[in-house]
Symmetry: C2
Subunit: 195 residues, 2 copies
């Protein structure tokens, strides 16, 4: 039997107080679908003197996992603002640049425009026409979950972002959307596995 | 004489009311340093019937420019929250995944931790120890401008993010940091050009 396909698990999950436990839950779900989950906290960062600054070591460990992964699942739940966690978005871009398949989910269903409207004063410039925030910056109105680069990156691969209405208190831990991504991945790679 | 090196100009600049004019200013500065600037609004998106949804067409045009670019300069000024614009961060990740050199600047000098502290209630968990936001999510404390993946991606290439204390009202238009990146790029590629 061939080794299972590996999947990089990106998301703000790593910032939770129970980050390790959540990673274990995700990896167990991966195994149930026949995949091996690679979680950013998997590789213990060397504390050896002279090894380098800790942030650089964490970066290198994550990049090694990103390169090793056969595909990715990214948690795009809004984080400290209307958009996804910046580290997760960076990893999504890198996975796409490396030519890998990526599946994504968010635990908030509202469009980007709707979320910016909730947190800022957004006005309609009828001349353009366009929505503009309190800094005068355009707010995209494509019905997307986030900046168009994020939604389109996944849509171009044939699978839109999975949007789940998780209970707000559970939005960083609900794994319904994550499991939906695993199911999509299983369907996507079914042909490869049958070979 | 060889064709000039091309540089992808990423940033929330594209959301300004005067986005086109700012892009022209950036491209003129690029030319002064011997580079050809590629601005995300350069390629007019086809409005032909059946060409596809506009966001998908914009994505494809940007990705074509990202692939064509010899290197990138990314504007990492905080946007709608403590982190950089999500579209810009996606493009940074993609450039790195494609193996390209990237220079970055931000027009706000404060660390990520300091900026999160300004916008949220951040508490110190002395047991871990770690800083945690009002959702209990860890706030990185590496002295970085943004999520470590962003700062380290550039630092690993040998050039930290340029941080400029631009006047707040001008933070999306000040090009001091942009020009500092152009100077770094000119120094970086000087050897290639001399060949």
């Amino acid at each position: 039997m061939a080794a299972p396909l590996t999947v990089y698990l990106a998301g703000p999950d790593v910032f939770l107080p129970d980050a390790i436990a959540l990673g274990e839950r995700k990896k167990q779900l991966c195994a149930r679908y026949g995949f091996e989950g690679l979680y950013p906290l998997d590789d213990t960062v060397s504390a050896a003197p002279g090894a380098g600054p800790p942030d650089r070591l964490i970066y290198r460990a994550c990049v090694a996992l990103l390169r090793r992964a056969d595909f990715g699942i990214v948690n795009l739940t809004p984080f400290r603002g209307p958009s996804a966690d910046a580290g997760t978005v960076y990893e999504l871009g890198m996975l796409i640049g490396l030519g890998k398949t990526v599946f994504g989910y968010t635990n908030v269903t509202a469009d980007l425009l709707e979320r910016v409207q909730r947190s800022d004063s957004v006005t309609r410039d009828t001349a353009e026409p366009a929505w503009r925030d309190s800094d005068g910056m355009l707010v995209e109105d494509f019905g997307n979950a986030d900046n168009l680069m994020i939604d389109a990156a996944l849509a171009e691969q044939g699978h839109e972002i999975v949007r789940i209405a998780a209970p707000p208190a559970d939005r960083f831990r609900d794994l319904t959307g994550f499991e939906a991504c695993l199911q999509r991945a299983a369907d996507h790679f079914a042909g490869d596995r049958a070979r």
